[in-house]
C-alpha cells in the first residue's frame, strides 16, 4: 500500500443550492443552458451535470449555466423561458418533462438529451437485468425496469440532439431514436483534481513509498456488479494464494466466491465514499481493477475508473471494453486484460514495481490532459451552442408561451452573478 499523508476531508455536497440562487446563475450569462436532472446525486449527476456547469461557469465567457430537477417542477416554465438550451440528463418521462420540452420547442429552443449508460432502449432490458444480476423471476422486476428504461427512452425521443459519454453509446442512441448524438466524455472536476494533485505530488516526492503489502482495489462493490467481479475473482484468488503480500480493498460490498472466501482475513471492505475522499482511497492501492462483462450494455460504460485512479498515480487493469480500450495503451499507461489475462497482468504490475512510477506518470499526464475539467470547454460549448463565441447582449421576444411577458431577460436585467464556484 502506498503511504499517503493526505487526510480524509470533511465533505459536503456542493450542489445543495436553493432554487433562486440556481436560477440567478442561469440568468447570469448571455448564453444560457439549463440542465435538468431528476434529483442530484454523486454519480451521474456529478459527472454529467455538475461538472459541465463547473466548466461553463468558470471558463465560459458570458455563459449562464445551472441545474434544475423534479423538486423545481413549478418553476420549470421560467427556467425554459430564461434558457437558450435545455439539457435533460437521463431523466424519466413525466408530465413536467413533456411540458418542458414542448415549451422549449415552441420557443424554438434546442433540447438535448444527455446519457452515460444504455438505459433508454427496452430491447436491452433483458440483457441489462442479466448483467446486473437482478431477480428476473419476479414480475415486479420487469415492471420496474421496463418502466424505468421506457420512460428514459421516451424522453430521449422527444429531444432534438443527444450527448453520450463515448462513441459506442452515441451509436446506440442514434440507432434507437434517430437523434444525432455527440460525445462529451466524463472528466475530473476541480475538487477531484485539487486533492489528486496534492496526492500525486506527495507520491512522486516520496518516490512512491509503500508498505510491503500490495493492495488490489475494487471500487465498484455493489450487488449489480456481481457478474463483473466474477470475471476476475478466480484469477485474484490464485494470485492471493501465490503471494501472501497481496490484499484486496473493496469499496462497497462483495459476495466472496470463486476461492476468495479463503482469504477473507486479507480483504478489507470500506463503505461508499464521496468523490473527494474516494480519490484518497484510490491513491493508496497499487492496482485498481475494472473487470467487466463484455457485452452491448457494458461497452457503453465510461472509462472513469481509469482516469480517477491515474490522477492519483495508481495503475489500472481493465477489461478492454470500448472505452477502456480507447483510453488505455496496454503497458504504456495501464493494462488491458482479456478474460484470461488477469492473473498475468496483476503479476506484471507486482513484479515490475521498478517501472511503476514511470507508467503511473504517463497515466497521470494523460488523465490530466484528456480528462481535466479545464480542457473541456471547447467541446461542451460547441455542442451546446454551436459556437464558441458569445453573442452581443440583447432583449429577445421569444413566444407567447414565455411566462413573465415572454421576454428573455437582458444582461442588464439580471441579478448579480452567483459568485459561488460550482
Amino acid at each position: 500500500m502506498f503511504i499517503v499523508a493526505e487526510p480524509p476531508h470533511a465533505y459536503k455536497d456542493p450542489w445543495a443550492i436553493p432554487f433562486p440562487e440556481r436560477f440567478r446563475a442561469l440568468c447570469s450569462g448571455q448564453r444560457r443552458v439549463a440542465y435538468f436532472y431528476e434529483r442530484p446525486d454523486t454519480s451521474t449527476f456529478r459527472y454529467r451535470v455538475y461538472n459541465m456547469i463547473q466548466v461553463l461557469s468558470t471558463l465560459g465567457k458570458g455563459i449562464g449555466a445551472s441545474f434544475f430537477g423534479n423538486d423545481d417542477k413549478d418553476e420549470l416554465d421560467r427556467v425554459v423561458d430564461a434558457a437558450d438550451v435545455i439539457v435533460i440528463c437521463r431523466a424519466r418521462y413525466n408530465e413536467h418533462i413533456n411540458q418542458m420540452i414542448t415549451r422549449a420547442h415552441a420557443q424554438g429552443k434546442k433540447v438535448i438529451f444527455d446519457v452515460d449508460d444504455l438505459v433508454f432502449n427496452v430491447d436491452y432490458a433483458h440483457l441489462i437485468l442479466r448483467t446486473l444480476d437482478q431477480d428476473i423471476s419476479a414480475s415486479e422486476t420487469w415492471d420496474h425496469w421496463f418502466g424505468w428504461i421506457g420512460r428514459i427512452g421516451a424522453t430521449l425521443r422527444m429531444c432534438d440532439e443527444a450527448i453520450a459519454t463515448n462513441s459506442y453509446l452515441a451509436h446506440r442512441i442514434q440507432e434507437f431514436s434517430g437523434v444525432r448524438a455527440s460525445v462529451i466524455p466524463n472528466f475530473l472536476n476541480k475538487e477531484q483534481l485539487a486533492v489528486s494533485d496534492r496526492i500525486y505530488k506527495e507520491k512522486v516526492d516520496s518516490r512512491f513509498k509503500r508498505t510491503h503489502e500490495i493492495h488490489v482495489g475494487y471500487f465498484s462493490g455493489t450487488p449489480t456488479h456481481n457478474h463483473d467481479f466474477a470475471v476476475v475473482a478466480r484469477s485474484l484468488a490464485r494470485v492471493m494464494r501465490q503471494d501472501a503480500r497481496v490484499r484486496l480493498l473493496v469499496v462497497g460490498f462483495l459476495e466472496l466466491k470463486e476461492g476468495l472466501e479463503a482469504f477473507s482475513d486479507r480483504i478489507e471492505f470500506y463503505s461508499l465514499h464521496d468523490f473527494v475522499n474516494l480519490q484518497r482511497l484510490m491513491s493508496l492501492v497499487e492496482i485498481n481493477i475494472v473487470p467487466l462483462v463484455d457485452n452491448g450494455f457494458t461497452n457503453c460504460k465510461s472509462e472513469l475508473k481509469y482516469f480517477e485512479a491515474a490522477a492519483v498515480g495508481t495503475l489500472t487493469i481493465a477489461t478492454p471494453i470500448h472505452s477502456y480500450a480507447s483510453a488505455i495503451a496496454h503497458g504504456e499507461n495501464g493494462y488491458l486484460a482479456s478474460s484470461i489475462e488477469w492473473e498475468e497482468c496483476i503479476h506484471k504490475i507486482i513484479n515490475g514495481m521498478d517501472r511503476y512510477s514511470s507508467i503511473a506518470h504517463r497515466a497521470h499526464v494523460h488523465s490530466i490532459r484528456q480528462y481535466g475539467w479545464f480542457n473541456q470547454l471547447d467541446r461542451i460549448e460547441k455542442i451546446l451552442f454551436g459556437t464558441n463565441e458569445a453573442p452581443a447582449c440583447k432583449i429577445s421576444k421569444s413566444t407567447d408561451f414565455a411566462s413573465a411577458g415572454g421576454v428573455k431577460a437582458s444582461c442588464d436585467d439580471l441579478p448579480a452573478p452567483v459568485t459561488r464556484s460550482m
Binding site: L127, R130, A138, E175, V293, D294, N295, G296, S339, I340
Partner: protein
Amino acid sequence: MNLFEKIGWYWRNRGIAGLVKRVIKGRAPSPDYVLTGHAGGVPTRSGNATKASHATTSAHLLVSDQFPSAQPMRVYTVPESLARLNLVTDSISAGSLFGGVGTAIILATMLASRRGARLRVVTRREAPDERGFAQVLECNGLAMPGNVEFVHLNVADGKAQLDICEGDRFLTTSWWTTASVLGSVPAERVDYLLQEDERMFYPLGDDWLRCSEVMQRNDIRFIINTELLYEHLIGTGLEHFKDTAKWFEPAFPRLASGEPTARGVTEKRKLFFYARPNNLRNLFYRGLEVLDRAVVEGILDPERWEVIFVGKDVPKVRLGGTIEPKVLPTMTWREYGEFISQVNVGVCLMCTPHPSYPPLDLAAAGAFVLTNKFGLKQSLDRYSDRILCTDTHVPALLDGLRAVIAQAENEIERGVVDDTRISRSWENSLADAVEYLN
C-alpha cells in the same frame, strides 16, 4: 383463492424467500390496479401447481428429465449485430481438454479469427476454466482471438439463459449439444464438430435413437475429425455427409508434443497404457490381460521397463506378479506434452473406426504405439510407421507389443528418427474446414 391457497401458491412459485418478501412488503400496485382500480389477475393453478397436485408425472416432463442435456438451450435475443461464434461444449476444465475438446477449441479459435468474429465459450456442465483454454492455444501456437467470453450455461440451472443476436453462430461438439442448440436456433446457424461415431456410445435404445436422428440431419454442416471416421460414417448409413460434411486430419505441433528426443538410454524405458476402465471402448481389461501376459512371458522385462497407466478411476493392480504400474492423475496440457516426450512405447486400444488421439500424440512425440484394428481402421501407416495396428485377440496384441518394444529398443541404440507423416500445423490441417464453414 383463500389465504392458505395463496400462501401455498407463493411458496411453490416464488420460494420461501418470495413468500417472506410478499408478507413483509405487501402487494405492489400493478399497472392493472392503477388503471382500473381492480387487482390484476389472480394466479391460476398451473405449472408447478399442477405438477404438485397430481401424483403422476407428465409424459413431457419425464422425457425432458431423461435427456436434460439435449433440451432446448434457453436463449433470449438482444438487438446486437456483432458477429460471434459460440463454442458449445460440456466442459473445458483440465480433465476434459485432451483430444476432442482441445480440437474444438482450436477449430473455434481459427474459425472466429477467420470470420472476424468474437468467440464465446459456452459450457453446459462444468464452470469454464479459462486457464485451460489459454493453455491449449499456447501449446498449439495459436493466439487468443481477442477477449474471449466464457459462459456457464448450466444444464442443471433452470434459470440460466444465453443472450443471442443475429450475428451468432454455433459450433457444437456432441449430439446432445447440437440437439440443445437446434432446439432454439435455426439450423443454418449451427455447425457440428463430430469426432466420434457417437452412436457407438449407446446400446440400441432411446439414446442411440436420438443420437442417430441428430447425425442424420441434413440441414446442418458437419466437420469430421479424420478421413477414416468420415468414410466409416458414410459407410454406415450417413450418406448425406457427402454433401454436408468436410473432414480434416488433426495436427500435432511440436509445441504440444515436443521434439522427438532420445529416451530410455540410461534409465528405465517407459510404457504408457491408456487406462480408462469406465470408457468401454478403450478395452481396459483386454489391455490389462495383454500386459499381464507380456510380463509373465518376459516380453516386458521389469528390470528394463516401467509401466505407467494414464487415465481415470484406475484400480491398483500388479502385472505378472512383479510390476506395479504407476498411475498418473489428470495432467495439464503442458504436463502431458512433457510426459509423452519421455515415453518409449504406448498401448492404446480403441474400439473405434478412427485412430483416436493417444496413438497419434505418442507417435508425434517419438514413441512406438500398439493399437487395434477396427472396421475401416486396418492400418495407420498413413500417419506414421511408428503405429502398429493388430487384431484385438490376445496373441495378436502380444505379438504387436513384442514388435513395438523391439522397435523402441532398436531406436534407443541407433538414435531418434522423426518418420511420422503426421501434420504439424493446425493452419494446414484445418484450412479446408475453416473455409468450408466460412
